[in-house]
C-alpha cells in the first residue's frame, strides 16, 4: 500500500492511502471528537456529526470519518467553522441527554465527558431547551443495564451486535426524535435473542449500556 504524508494541526504525519482521516488522526494522538464510528466499519454511518475538521482548499468543514486522506492534505481540527458545528452538535446531543455523572457507572471513562472537555463546554449546557424523553430502563439482562435516556444513538452497539458478531439482537426503531435503540418489538433484553456477550457494553461511549457491577465487567473482559 502506498504511503502518503499529510499535515494535521501543523504536525507531519504519514498514513496509508485510502485510510479515513479520523483514524489517522486518532492513531497519531490527535483527538477529534467522535461517537458513531468504529474503525472496522468500512461504511462510516456519519451520524453523530461531531468529527468536523477543516481541510485546506475546502470551503466547508468535512466529517473526518468520511474523508479519505490524500497526499499533501493540510487539516485543521481546531478551525472556527468546524468547532462551531461540533459544539452545536454536542450541545444538541446533551440537550436531550440525562446527565447524572455522580451516579453513573461510566463516570471518568465516559466519552461524553472527554468531548465536553475537548470542546471546552459544560455537559449541562443551557444553550438549548432541555427536551428529555423519559423512557423506561431495561434491567432484565443479568449482565448489563440499558438506560435509553442516556443513549446518544451513535449506533456502535447495533453495528457490533449485527455486523461484527452476526447476532442482531438490537436495532434502531422509530423515526426522528423518537428514534431509539431497542430489541425486536421492544421486548426486554432477557426475552430477546441477546446472548449477553456484553460486546455492546464495551463499545458504548457513555452510560447507556453499563455492566451491572465492576466485578462482572472484570469477569467479562
Amino acid at each position: 500500500m502506498k504511503t502518503i504524508s499529510l499535515t494535521i494541526d501543523g504536525k507531519r504525519i504519514s498514513a496509508n492511502e485510502g485510510e479515513k482521516l479520523l483514524w489517522v488522526a486518532l492513531g497519531n494522538g490527535i483527538y477529534i471528537p467522535n461517537l458513531c464510528g468504529l474503525q472496522d466499519n468500512s461504511q462510516p454511518p456519519a451520524a453523530c456529526r461531531l468529527c468536523f475538521v477543516e481541510v485546506e482548499g475546502k470551503e466547508k468543514p468535512v466529517t473526518a470519518c468520511t474523508e479519505t486522506v490524500t497526499d499533501g492534505m493540510v487539516i485543521d481540527t481546531r478551525g472556527g467553522k468546524a468547532l462551531r458545528l461540533a459544539r452545536t452538535a454536542f450541545e444538541l446531543l446533551m440537550s436531550s441527554q440525562q446527565v447524572d455523572c455522580a451516579h453513573c457507572a461510566k463516570n471518568g471513562s465516559c466519552e461524553l465527558q472527554q468531548i465536553a472537555h475537548h470542546l471546552n463546554i459544560k455537559l449541562k449546557s443551557n444553550r438549548f431547551r432541555r427536551i428529555l424523553r423519559e423512557l423506561p430502563i431495561d434491567d432484565s439482562s443479568s449482565v448489563f443495564t440499558y438506560d435509553p435516556n442516556k443513549c446518544v444513538l451513535c449506533g456502535r452497539c447495533v453495528w457490533v451486535c449485527r455486523e461484527r458478531l452476526g447476532i442482531g439482537a438490537i436495532g434502531f426503531a422509530y423515526r426522528g426524535f423518537q428514534r431509539v435503540v431497542t430489541t425486536f418489538a421492544g421486548e426486554a433484553f432477557a426475552d430477546s435473542k441477546c446472548q449477553e456477550c456484553g460486546e455492546c457494553v464495551r463499545v458504548c461511549p457513555c452510560g447507556a449500556l453499563v455492566f451491572k457491577n465492576d466485578k462482572t465487567e472484570e469477569e467479562q473482559t
Binding site: S95, S96, R129, I131, G176
Partner: protein, 635 residues
C-alpha cells in the same frame, strides 16, 4: 447495433404503430361521439366516478354504445370533474364542474341532441367559432405543454393511445443512436434534474455510463411527498408510458439491465396505472428480453414505498429498495457509481424521465430553445393554496412568479391580498411580494433563498401567518426526519420548540437569533438533503417577514390573526343585530350570551377560539371580528 438488426427493429415497431393508429382512428372515424371523463385522483376526489357512472347509465338507458374513455388530468383541477365530448361537426368541448345531473343532461342534450349546453362549457380543446377554446384563456399565453401534452387526452391504461400519439418512436430512434451520442444530445439540451436539485442530467448519465459494475440499474423516483405537490402523481397516473419510455432509453444509454419505479403506496391509482402500463409494454416487447428483436434487454419493476418522506432522498430510497430501513447514508460514492446493491445506478425524477423522449424526438435544440439562459425547458408546477385556479401548470423556465400565480392561476380568491408563495415544499422557502417578478429557474430561486424543489407552489394570502407557516413545515420535516444524524433529529426539534413558543405567545427576543444560528448549523451539519434544506422555510420567513416574528414576540400579536393563542374573538356591539341569534346557537362551549340590550357578548374565559361564531354571523352584519393581541378586546 448491426444494420440488419436496426431495420428489423424499425419494421417490428412499424407494425405495432400501424395497429395503434388504426385503433385510435377508428375511435373517431366511426362517426360516434366520443366521451372522455377525467378520472385521475383529482377528478375522483371531486366525484368523477359518479359522473362516469351517470354517463354510462344514461347511454345504456338510451341503448347507445358510444365510446366512454377514462382519461387523466388536464391540469384544470379547480374545475373537476371534467368531461370532454368529441362529436362530429363540433370541436372537442370540455365541460367543467360536472355532476351526475349535468352529466345526464350532456348525454341527452348534446351527445344525443344538438345542444352543446354552453352554460357548462369550460373550454374547447381546439380553436373554433362556437365556444371559447383553452387557447383563448389568459393562461394559454404562458403555458407550454411538453410532458403534460398527453395528460387528460389519452387513456393511460391503453398503450395504443400513447403509441398513436407518437409514443415509443423515440425509443426506436434512440436504439439507432450510439449511447455516447444520446448523452451528448442530453447535455446539449441543457436538461437538469427535475427532482429539485437541478443536476445536469446528461452529466449524470455519462457518469453512470462510464461506471464499472454489472448489472447496472435505473431508478425512477416517484416518492413525491411534499405537502401540496402532485406533479409526479399526475404524470404517473395520466401518462405512465412516457416515464417508461424515458427509462428504457436511459437503460439503453447507460447499459443497465433492470429498472425500478419507486411509487409511494399512497398513490394507488398511479401504482395501478404503472403496473398496467408495464404489462402492456412487455406484451408488445417494448420491455423485457431483446426489446423489439434487438440485443438490448431491459425490464422494469414497480416498487411501492411505504410512506416515509425521507425515502425521496436517493440513498434512503435505495436502502428502502434493498429491504433496509429507509435511512440515508453518506455520499460519495454517488449512486451513479455505487448505488443499488453496490452497483452503478442511474437515479432520476419522474419528470426528468418524461422529458427524455421529447429531447430524443425533437432534438436538443428544440428543448433548449424553451426556457432561459441557465435553465432549459419547461417547469411543471402544482398550484395550491390561496389561488383561484388550483391545478397543474407547465410553463417555460424563466416565467415569472407573478405570471404563474396571477395569469395562470388567476390570482387570489375572495379579493384578498397576496402575501407570499411557498415554493419547493418543506425544503423550499417563502417568497414575498417583492420577489414576484423573479424568473422561475433553478438559480434565481436558490439565490432568493427558496428552491425549485420538485415543483410545489403554495400561495399564501393576508390571512396566513408566516411564523405559523414556518412552524407547520418544520413540524413536517421534524416528524419525517429519520433521526439518524444529530442535526436533523435534534436541531429541527429545537427549532420547532422555539417556533411553538413564538406562535403560542411565549417567544423571547433572543429566540430569533437562536433560530437563525441553529438554522445555519443544521444546514451545514446535516447528513442528507432533508436536514440540509429543512431550515429553509424558517430562514426565508425570517429574511422576508421578520416583522411578523417580532410582532409575535414583542407585542404578543399575530398580524395575520391566525395564531390561536394570540387572538380573541369579539362582537362589535354597534354591528350586532338584536333579533339575530346565529352565533349563540353555534357556539360549542356556550361562551356567547345576550345582554340586556339584546347584544351578544363573548365570555373570553369560556371561549375556545374555534371561530364558528365568525362563520355564523350573517355577512350583512359582520359583527364578529378577531383581535390581536387578546388584550385589544374592550372591557
Amino acid at each position: 447495433m448491426k444494420v440488419a438488426e436496426l431495420s428489423a427493429i424499425t419494421s417490428a415497431f412499424q407494425e405495432i404503430k400501424n395497429r395503434a393508429e388504426l385503433r385510435w382512428q377508428t375511435l373517431y372515424d366511426s362517426g360516434k361521439p366520443v366521451i372522455m371523463v377525467g378520472t385521475a385522483t383529482c377528478g375522483r376526489a371531486a366525484g368523477a366516478l359518479e359522473v362516469l357512472k351517470a354517463i354510462r347509465d344514461e347511454l345504456k338507458r338510451q341503448n347507445l354504445d358510444f365510446p366512454v374513455i377514462e382519461v387523466g388530468c388536464l391540469g384544470h383541477c379547480y374545475a373537476e370533474p371534467l368531461v370532454i365530448i368529441s362529436k362530429p361537426e363540433y370541436p372537442p368541448i370540455c365541460y367543467g364542474r360536472v355532476n351526475p345531473v349535468i352529466a345526464e343532461r350532456l348525454v341527452k342534450e348534446f351527445v344525443i341532441g344538438d345542444n352543446p349546453c354552453l352554460e357548462f362549457v369550460l373550454g374547447a380543446l381546439e380553436e373554433n367559432d362556437l365556444v371559447p377554446s383553452f387557447s383563448d384563456f389568459p393562461r394559454a399565453k404562458y403555458e407550454k405543454k411538453v410532458i403534460l401534452k398527453n395528460c387528460g387526452q389519452i387513456d393511460p391504461k391503453e398503450i395504443d393511445h400513447y403509441i398513436a400519439k407518437g409514443g415509443y418512436s423515440s425509443l426506436v430512434k434512440a436504439l439507432h443512436i450510439p449511447p455516447e451520442q444520446i448523452i451528448e444530445e442530453l447535455k446539449r439540451s441543457g436538461l437538469r434534474g427535475r427532482g429539485g436539485a437541478g443536476f445536469p442530467t446528461g452529466r449524470k448519465w455519462e457518469v453512470c455510463c462510464r461506471a464499472v459494475g454489472e448489472p447496472k440499474y435505473v431508478i425512477c423516483n416517484g416518492d413525491e411527498g411534499d405537502p401540496g405537490a402532485f406533479m409526479d402523481r399526475v404524470v404517473l397516473e395520466s401518462d405512465p408510458h412516457s416515464i417508461i419510455e424515458g427509462m428504457i432509453i436511459a437503460g439503453y444509454t447507460v447499459g443497465a439491465r433492470y429498472g425500478y419505479i419507486y411509487v409511494r403506496a399512497e398513490y394507488p391509482l398511479a401504482v395501478e396505472h404503472v403496473q398496467i402500463a408495464l404489462r402492456q409494454a412487455r406484451r408488445l416487447n417494448l420491455l423485457g428480453k431483446n426489446i423489439l428483436g434487438s440485443d438490448f434487454s431491459f425490464d422494469i419493476r414497480l416498487f411501492q414505498g411505504s410512506g416515509a418522506f425521507v425515502c425521496g432522498e436517493e440513498t434512503a430510497l435505495i436502502a428502502s429498495l434493498e429491504g433496509k430501513p429507509g435511512i440515508p447514508y453518506y455520499r460519495p460514492p454517488y449512486p451513479a457509481v455505487k448505488g443499488l446493491y453496490g452497483k452503478p445506478t442511474l437515479f432520476n425524477n419522474v419528470k426528468t424521465f418524461a422529458y427524455v423522449r421529447h429531447i430524443i424526438n425533437d432534438g436538443a435544440e428544440c428543448f433548449a430553445s424553451i426556457g432561459d439562459e441557465r435553465s432549459k425547458g419547461t417547469a411543471v408546477f402544482a398550484l395550491a393554496g390561496k389561488v383561484v385556479n388550483t391545478g397543474l401548470a407547465e410553463v417555460p423556465m424563466g416565467t415569472t412568479l407573478r405570471q404563474v400565480i396571477f395569469d395562470v392561476g388567476s390570482g387570489i380568491p375572495g379579493g384578498k391580498h397576496f402575501k407570499a408563495v411557498q415554493i419547493g415544499g418543506p425544503s423550499g422557502g417563502c417568497l414575498p411580494e417583492s420577489a414576484l417578478d423573479l424568473p422561475i429557474d433553478f438559480d434565481s430561486l436558490s439565490d432568493a433563498g427558496a428552491m425549485m424543489g420538485s415543483g410545489g407552489m403554495v400561495v399564501l394570502d393576508e390571512d396566513d401567518c408566516m411564523v405559523e407557516i414556518a412552524r407547520y413545515f418544520l413540524e413536517f420535516t421534524q416528524s419525517e426526519s429519520c433521526g439518524k444524524c444529530t442535526f436533523c433529529r435534534l436541531g429541527t426539534k429545537q427549532m420547532l420548540e422555539i417556533l411553538n413558543d413564538i406562535t403560542q405567545g411565549r417567544g423571547r427576543i433572543d429566540d430569533i437569533d437562536m433560530l437563525s444560528q441553529l438554522a445555519e448549523d443544521v444546514i451545514a451539519g446535516s447528513l442528507c438533503g432533508l436536514g440540509k434544506t429543512a431550515p429553509n422555510p424558517v430562514l426565508t420567513t425570517l429574511r422576508y417577514f421578520r416583522d411578523e416574528y417580532e410582532a409575535h414576540i414583542k407585542e404578543g400579536r399575530c398580524p395575520a390573526l391566525m395564531c390561536r393563542d394570540l387572538i380573541a374573538y369579539y362582537i362589535i356591539p354597534e354591528k350586532c343585530e338584536r333579533s339575530c341569534d346565529a352565533c349563540v346557537g353555534t357556539c360549542t362551549v356556550e361562551a356567547i350570551t345576550t345582554n340586556k340590550k339584546r347584544i351578544k357578548v363573548i365570555d373570553q374565559e369560556k371561549c375556545v377560539k374555534c371561530g364558528t361564531c365568525l362563520d355564523a354571523c350573517p355577512p350583512q352584519y359582520n359583527a364578529v371580528i378577531k383581535l390581536s393581541p387578546p388584550s385589544e378586546v374592550p372591557s
